[in-house]
């Protein structure tokens, strides 16, 4: 892991997400959980047909081979929370910001909608609100009060559910302790039925995420770009029948 001025005190956490491709079944539970947790609006059929979406996490599907020896593979994709994030230096108003815990935070009230960050992102995980989000009444009741509803002209993306991180940290602090490993779970991690997503502190060598990050199956997406992602993938198993 690159360690430079961007990375503050060693003692603080660096949040990482492990994606075990051998467990992922492409079931989309994470996608809906994220919508519910983060007040992500829906694009609607017309916009969807233009190829637009607002999901913060998507599951890519890759075909391999041809019939009858064909396989499909799933790969969940969300903001990689890069250590050297290409989206950060291009923002003219410092709306994309690197927080002390290694997250690429998006400060919605600073954002003026240049979409430079979205263009710079090699993972294409940022989505832009071209329209005012619509929640037909009383669907507004479902909105999570911990998360801002983004208005038109704002860029948004996965935050690793920072509100859930803060909630767990505050609860732990009130009890005079540090959050335990596994206590902090973004919505996608919490719901993932086969347990393909694991969240934790990569600066804590004993966390389950750190242990898995050292697996021989571990790799990171487009690592050669030097983005230093905090999302670490474990490659799917290969057993020949």
């Amino acid at each position: 892991m690159a360690q430079d001025a961007n990375h503050l005190a060693e003692s603080g956490p660096r949040w990482g997400l492990i994606v075990d491709l051998d467990r992922c079944t492409g079931c989309q539970a994470c996608v809906v959980a994220c919508h519910a947790e983060n007040n992500v609006p829906v694009a609607g059929e017309k916009q969807a047909a233009y190829g637009r979406w607002l999901h913060w996490i998507i599951i890519q599907r890759f075909w391999e081979g041809e019939y009858p020896n064909v396989k499909a593979r799933f790969m969940p994709l969300m903001c990689q929370q890069c250590g050297e994030a290409p989206c950060e230096p291009v923002c003219p108003v410092y709306a994309t910001y690197h927080n002390p815990e290694g997250l690429n935070a998006q400060i919605y009230n600073r954002c003026i909608g240049t979409r430079f960050c979205g263009n710079a992102c090699p993972y294409k995980v940022r989505t832009f609100n071209w329209f005012r989000p619509e929640f037909s009444e009383p669907l507004t009741e479902q909105l999570n009060p911990d998360v801002t509803v983004r208005s038109r002209g704002i860029m948004e993306k996965c935050t690793f559910c920072i509100q859930r991180i803060r909630r767990a940290q505050l609860d732990a602090r009130a009890q005079g302790r540090e959050p335990a490993d596994g206590e902090i779970q973004p919505a996608c991690v919490q719901t993932c039925p086969p347990g393909a997503l694991i969240f934790g502190d990569l600066n804590d060598p004993d966390s389950r995420a750190s242990q898995l990050a050292r697996s021989h199956r571990a790799f990171r997406l487009l690592e050669e770009l030097g983005t230093d992602p905090a999302a670490i993938y474990l490659k799917g198993g290969e057993t020949n029948v």
């Binding site: 919490q190 086969p194 347990g195």
Partner: protein
Amino acid sequence: MTKSISRRQFFRIAGGTAAATGISPKLRRILSEPFVRPPEDVLPGRATWYASTCRQCPAGCGIIVRVINGRAKKIEGNPLHPLNRGKLCARGQAGLQVLYNPDRLRNAVRQTGGRGSRQFEPLYWDAALDLLAEKIRALSNPGRLAVLAGLMPDHLYRLLSLLLESLGAAPPVIFDLHSALEGRAAAARSSEVFFGAAELPVYDVGRSDVVFSFGANFLETWMSPVAQSVAYGNMRQGAFGGRGLLVQFEPRLSATAASADQWIPLRPGTEGFVALALGRIIVEERLGHVGSHRPHAALYQDVDVTEMAAASRVPIESLRRLARLFADAEHPVAIPGGSLAGQQNGAASMLAVHALNHVVAQVGRVGGVFLSSPGPTAMLRQTARVDSFAQVQDLIERMKAGEVDLLLAVGGNPVFELPATAGFAAAIERVPYVVSFGSFVDETAVRADLILPEHTYLESWGYQVPEPGADRPAVSGQQPVVRSLYDTQASADVLLGLASRLGGRPSEALPWPDEISFLEETVRDLHGSSLGAYDADTPAGFFALWRQYGGWWSERELPREPVVAEAVIQPLPIVAPQFVGDERTYPFHLHPYPSVALSDGRGANLPWLQETPDPMTTARWSTWVELNPEVARSLGIGDDDIVRVISPHGELEAPVVVYPGIHPDVVAIPVGQGHTDYGRFARRRGSNPLDLVAPVAAADGGALAWGATRVRLEVTGRRQTLARLESLDGAGRESLG
């Protein structure tokens, strides 16, 4: 927060609640108070979590719901629940949109402008119940009352059965498309033949090292998908031995097959042949390590491997390799799935798959097949059984013949879910009075005279013994997490109110003043069990814990080994599949399959689920037709070209998805879209493949054979851009669009 209730109204409602406290015990106990006077330990703005049960499918997963200031904000899996262990699927996550759906009915209504007019006149509940009681009293004989229902929670089924019995009416006819697609009835029946118990088996996938799934999409919608997905994760990377292996046998590569190590494409209806061939090879070549195969020889005496290979078009070498793989495994398991049950030879195919578990002695062994142990939950267990399609057809015939004067539609949406040519929509016109209990105006409710909208599941009480169950006795408990939004009523309370109005035998059979007193009394049966994860000194304390835990379950794992029935040790039947439609006129097999997001269409009114991409095609908001690349090439069409799919019973048009993972003889269409009603998000979107399906049942009096229809294709020359996540131009995905 809310725009529909002003601050002043909010206080008024709260005041009303307080006033009601002294008056009616029913009101006092059922209303959840808004937090105007929060309890001392609850801070306004701070979340409270309520445990309940998901009702988005019949699995019965435990949920916990985050409630802030009296509003439900997030649904998560109940980490204590032994079935889903804190996890939840996409449909479960979307439950908030059932509760806060803008198209919910807000009170009891009468359709005044005639059926289908959509002119609804609100009714007071007392008037509505009086009206229904009057209709029941006016019946010339109780046989003229019919109830058609979808799968429902156990408490409601029990009350409904009691009421119908006391009236002398026939028990409810149970049908829903979700159950048909997962082959619930066929699975229970094959289990009865094989294990002597008409219960759904539990497959120990989590501790298995080789899983052969015959058309079971157990990671998507089949049976208990969340529990099975948790098990799948453990099978792949769990602590138990090495990495497990999954082989999927089915006509179309489902999302479950995408997770498999190998997909074996089969012609529809030949799954059983493959299972028979595998079994025969294992027995003949004495494979595996179970000792003597002599007792199994009789099972396969009529099976010829060469014939089976020819019928299924799976090469003998592959069969031999697979047989060895299965038999040599430590803990193999074979799962008979829903796509077997959709064929006319479904029962024989399912037996053939069960026999595989038997010949490798994996019945009741780690990583094999189990039944769920009822323990003390046996007395609560009164699970609705899915009826055979013949019974549904019989009801339709009776309706057509004018033998039904009053039809109650409780859950389910038969107009949408039955094949169009089964004639239900026409038959319902012949019934003088139709009552629907749905929360939404769906295709069935719009044909009703009276709609008594029930609470959504997040506003309801209830319980359900999950089936297939967990590894231990368990009951999922349901409780309201928010105060009911509108003037709706629990269907259980409607039945109780009806019974007390009718007096006589019904009121004796259903003596409870309200749903919750019935529930308290029933739950008391579990109080004092030594198995429980908790217990209390008093029944009231027990009921409080029941609500906190969201049900009751055993603390320890309690496996139940099935016993293979004597009757099984005889030659397995070999039954060829039969199809509706001539092979030359209709060269393709129609393969309808449940959508991961919309299931059988019940999720189509939730925008989150409409927006959720199909895992395989990444398409959203629509219907499509999947074709093998070779077939598409021979027709000269590609992605997004609209084709007309024609069966002997109907036709539909939809854009093509060229799909690399489908047998060339098969045309697959997802179920779920094509609603003509059911709210703004569902209406006028895509097409319903049930319009094509022939109304035939499996030969032995089974469920709807939804996979037994042949179709042909016509190119229309038109195009429609399907809304999909994946870009087709190869230029990469666009998120800034």
